[in-house]
C-alpha cells in the first residue's frame, strides 16, 4: 500500500512514516502544500495523509483543489484543529476522514486500512489474525476448534486488538476504546474481560499453543501477528 504523507513537522513525519513502514506500507513524504498538491494530482498513491497547517498551500485548499481536479484518492486529514467547525470544513472540502492531533499511530493505521480496504465485494465482516477469526456481524469468535459468541464488551475488546496485530495496547487505551472511559477505574476490569475471552476460546490451558492475546507485564495487551507455539 502506497501512502502519500504531506506533513511539515519532521518529528511527526518520522514516527508516522516508521509506523506505516512497520505496518507494511510504503510512505512518500512531502513537507509543503505546493509540492503536496502536485503529488496528489498525479494520483500515484492509494491514500493521502494530509496535515492542515502547511507551508505554501494549506491543507484545506489542497483538498479543495484536488477534489476540483477530480482526484478520488482517499484523504485522511491530520489536524491540531479538533473543533467541530474545522472537522466539518474538512469533510466539506472532500476529506474521507479527519483525525485530530494528538492521535494514536495505530488508530491512523486502522483508519488507513479501513479506507483503502473498502473494496467492493471484499468481505470485511470477518477478520482473521494468528488463527483467531472474528465475525463482526454475529460476534462469533473461532480459534482452532473452539468457537463462542462474545458479549458486546468482549467483542469490542477482541476486535480492537485484532485491528492492529502485534501492537501493544495499554489498559488505558483499551478502556478508552472499549468502555469509552478516559480514566483508570483502578480495577482489573480489562484483565477480567481478557480472561473471559481466553476461557471461552481455550477451555483447556495446556494444548501446546499460546493463546493469541498476550499480556505484556506492566505494559498492556497485544494480539500476536502469527500463531505462537
Amino acid at each position: 500500500m502506497r501512502i502519500l504523507l504531506i506533513e511539515d513537522e519532521p518529528k511527526i513525519a518520522s514516527f508516522v512514516s516508521e509506523g506505516f513502514r512497520l505496518a507494511g506500507m510504503q510512505t512518500t513524504l512531502i513537507d509543503n502544500g505546493v509540492d503536496g498538491l502536485q503529488a496528489v494530482l498525479q494520483s500515484a498513491h492509494d491514500l493521502v495523509v494530509l496535515d492542515i497547517m502547511l507551508q505554501g498551500l494549506d491543507g484545506f485548499e489542497l483538498l479543495r483543489q484536488s477534489r476540483s481536479a477530480g482526484v478520488v484518492t482517499p484523504i485522511i486529514v491530520l489536524s491540531a484543529k479538533a473543533d467541530l467547525p474545522d472537522r466539518l470544513l474538512g469533510f466539506d472540502t472532500g476529506a474521507n476522514d479527519y483525525l485530530a492531533k494528538p492521535f494514536f499511530m495505530e488508530e491512523l493505521i486502522a483508519r488507513t486500512r479501513a479506507l483503502v480496504g473498502r473494496i467492493p465485494g471484499r468481505n470485511e465482516e470477518v477478520v482473521s489474525v494468528a488463527g483467531l477469526t472474528l465475525n463482526r456481524l454475529t460476534r462469533k469468535a473461532v480459534w482452532l476448534d473452539q468457537f463462542t459468541v462474545l458479549s458486546q464488551r468482549e467483542f469490542m475488546l477482541l476486535d480492537y486488538l485484532m485491528r492492529s496485530p502485534g501492537y501493544i495496547f495499554s489498559r488505558k487505551q483499551i478502556l478508552l476504546h472499549v468502555w469509552n472511559f478516559n480514566f483508570d477505574p483502578q480495577t482489573n476490569v480489562v484483565d477480567v474481560c481478557v480472561q473471559r475471552i481466553r476461557k471461552k476460546l481455550m477451555p483447556q490451558k495446556d494444548n501446546g499453543l499460546f493463546f493469541p492475546i498476550q499480556s505484556i507485564r506492566g505494559v498492556g495487551y497485544r494480539i500476536s501477528a502469527e500463531v505462537v507455539t
Partner: protein
C-alpha cells in the same frame, strides 16, 4: 434583602417635598399673620371711610357693613369694635376711655400701607391690658378700633378653616406627590434602563458592535462612554481568549502528538516485557495524563471564550445512565446499585461532551465512595427538562464540597489522602458542559456524609422551544 433604589428615591423625594411644605407653612403663617392684620386695617379704613357718617348719626356698624358692602370679615366683628368721632363719642361699645387713650399724643400713628387711602393712619397700643388696632382719618379725627383679641380670634379661625381643608386635601396631595415622584424617578432612571438594556443585549455574538444607548441627555454621555470603553476592552479580551484557545490548541497538540507517537513507537520497538518497555509505558501514561489535562484546559478556555460549538444529536439519556449503572459492578463488586430511571428520555446534546460530563461525575462517585458503598441513580423528566441525581456515600470532610467542588484544580482532602488519580478539572469542566446545554449542576453533601450531584437541563435546546 436588596432595597429598591427607585422606591428609596421616591420616598426621599416625598420627604423633601413634605419638609419644604412644613417649613413653608411655618414661615407663611408668621408672615401671613402680619399680612392679614394689614388687610384688616385696610378693611377698617374702608369702613371708616364709608360708614363714618352713618356711625355719626348713630347707625350700628352691622348695618353699615351691609350698606357699604364692607369686607366679609367685618361681619364677624359686630359689637367688637369701637368708633370714636371728633368729640370722643363712641358707638357699639361703652369705651370712652379707649377713645381718649387713642387720642393722646403718646399714641404713635403711621400712614396705612395702602397708597389708595391717603390721609388714613394706623396704630397699635395697649389699653386696660389689651392690645388694640386703630385706624384714623387725619382730616376728621374719626377712629375705628378693633381689639387684638378679636383680630387674633379671627386669624385663628382663618387658620382653622385652612387646617380643616388640609385634613382632606393632605392625603390627596401626598398621593399625588407619590405618583409624581414615581413618575419622575422613572423618567430619571430611564437613561440608566436604556444603558442596562444595551448591556443586557451584549453577548459574544455582538461584542464587536458599538453600544447603542438611546439617551439624548448629555449628563449620561460619560456613562455611555465608560461602558463603550468597557465593551471595547471586553471585545479585545474575548478575541485574545479565542485566539489563545486556537493557538494553544495547535502549539500544544503538535508536541503532544510527537511525544505520544515516539513513545508508542518506542514501546513497540522494545523487547516485550522488558524493563525499558515498562518504563516507556509509564512515560507514555504520563504523556496521556498530560494530553488529558491539556484537552480539558483547552476546553475550559474555549468555554471561557464562549467558543464551543456543540455537535447536537438526539441521545437516549436513559440508556446511557442505565449502561453506567450496569457497569458500576465491574469497577467495584461490593457496590450496591440502585436506580430509578425513567425510560426513553431523549436529550438533544453534544454526545461527546455529555459522555464526558456523566463520566466525570460517575468517576467521582466511584473514587470517593466507601469500599463497600453504594451508588444511586435517579433520572426523571421535569416538565420540558430532565433531572439526573447521582448519590454516593463518602468519607472525610465534605463541609466545603458544595462551595468549592467546581473550582478549577480543586481536589478534596480525601483525594490526596486516598491518592485518587485526577487533576481537579473534571467538575469545573462539568459545569461548563452543563451551562453549554442551558442547564444547572449542583453538588450537595448531606448530614449523613452522602454526596448528591444533580444535573437539570432542558431536553431540547431553548432555540428549538415552541412558544
Amino acid at each position: 434583602m436588596r432595597r429598591s433604589f427607585r422606591f428609596r428615591l421616591t420616598l426621599q423625594f416625598v420627604f423633601c417635598i413634605l419638609l419644604v411644605t412644613l417649613l413653608n407653612r411655618f414661615f407663611s403663617q408668621y408672615f401671613a399673620n402680619a399680612y392679614v392684620q394689614e388687610r384688616i386695617e385696610i378693611g377698617m379704613v374702608k369702613v371708616l371711610q364709608r360708614c363714618g357718617d352713618l356711625y355719626k348719626i348713630g347707625t350700628g356698624a352691622h348695618e353699615c357693613s351691609e350698606e357699604v358692602r364692607a369686607p366679609s370679615w367685618m361681619e364677624s366683628l359686630p359689637q367688637s369694635y369701637v368708633f370714636c368721632d371728633e368729640g370722643g363719642g363712641q358707638t357699639a361699645s361703652q369705651s370712652l376711655g379707649l377713645c381718649l387713650k387713642s387720642s393722646q399724643t403718646s399714641t404713635v400713628w403711621h400712614d396705612v400701607h395702602d397708597p389708595q387711602y391717603p390721609g388714613f393712619e394706623s396704630s397699635r397700643f395697649e389699653w386696660q391690658a389689651q392690645g388694640w388696632h386703630a385706624v384714623r382719618q387725619s382730616s376728621t379725627g374719626r377712629m375705628l378700633l378693633v381689639s387684638q383679641v378679636v383680630m387674633d380670634r379671627f386669624i385663628d379661625e382663618l387658620w382653622g378653616i385652612r387646617n380643616r381643608v388640609m385634613q382632606y386635601v393632605f392625603p390627596v396631595i401626598v398621593l399625588m406627590l407619590l405618583m409624581v415622584s414615581w413618575f419622575m424617578t422613572r423618567v430619571m432612571l430611564k437613561p440608566l434602563n436604556n444603558i442596562q438594556d444595551s448591556l443586557e443585549n451584549l453577548s459574544s455574538k455582538n461584542l464587536h458592535e458599538p453600544l447603542v444607548v438611546s439617551s439624548d441627555f448629555k449628563e449620561f454621555e460619560p456613562f455611555t462612554l465608560v461602558f463603550e470603553q468597557l465593551r471595547g476592552r471586553l471585545h479585545n479580551s474575548f478575541l485574545q481568549s479565542q485566539r489563545f484557545a486556537a493557538d494553544a490548541s495547535h502549539e500544544l497538540r503538535t508536541p503532544l502528538t510527537i511525544l505520544r507517537g515516539h513513545a508508542e513507537m518506542g514501546i513497540a520497538g522494545l523487547p516485550a516485557g522488558s524493563e525499558a518497555q515498562i518504563r516507556m509505558r509509564l512515560m507514555g501514561e504520563e504523556i496521556e495524563r498530560l494530553i488529558d489535562i491539556t484537552e480539558k484546559l483547552l476546553l475550559l478556555s474555549q468555554a471561557d471564550a464562549n467558543n464551543i460549538k456543540p455537535d447536537l444529536v438526539d441521545l437516549n439519556l436513559s440508556d446511557l445512565i442505565n449502561q453506567y449503572a450496569d457497569d458500576a459492578k465491574l469497577y467495584q463488586a461490593k457496590f450496591s446499585i440502585s436506580r430509578d430511571i425513567q425510560p426513553n428520555l431523549i436529550w438533544r446534546c453534544d454526545k461527546q461532551l455529555v459522555n464526558q460530563l456523566i463520566q466525570n461525575i460517575y468517576v467521582n462517585a466511584i473514587h470517593y465512595n466507601l469500599p463497600d458503598g453504594w451508588l444511586d441513580f435517579k433520572l426523571h423528566r421535569v416538565g420540558e427538562s430532565f433531572e439526573l441525581i447521582l448519590s454516593n456515600p463518602t468519607q472525610g470532610a465534605v463541609a466545603d464540597l458544595s462551595g468549592r467542588a467546581f473550582e478549577r484544580f480543586y481536589r478534596g482532602d480525601s483525594a490526596h489522602t486516598r491518592q485518587v488519580d485526577g487533576h481537579g478539572l473534571g467538575l469545573s469542566l462539568c459545569i461548563e458542559i452543563v451551562h453549554l446545554h442551558h442547564g444547572q449542576i449542583t453538588l450537595r453533601a448531606d448530614e449523613h456524609q452522602v454526596v448528591h450531584v444533580s444535573i437539570m437541563a432542558p431536553l431540547l435546546p431553548p432555540n428549538t422551544w415552541v412558544d
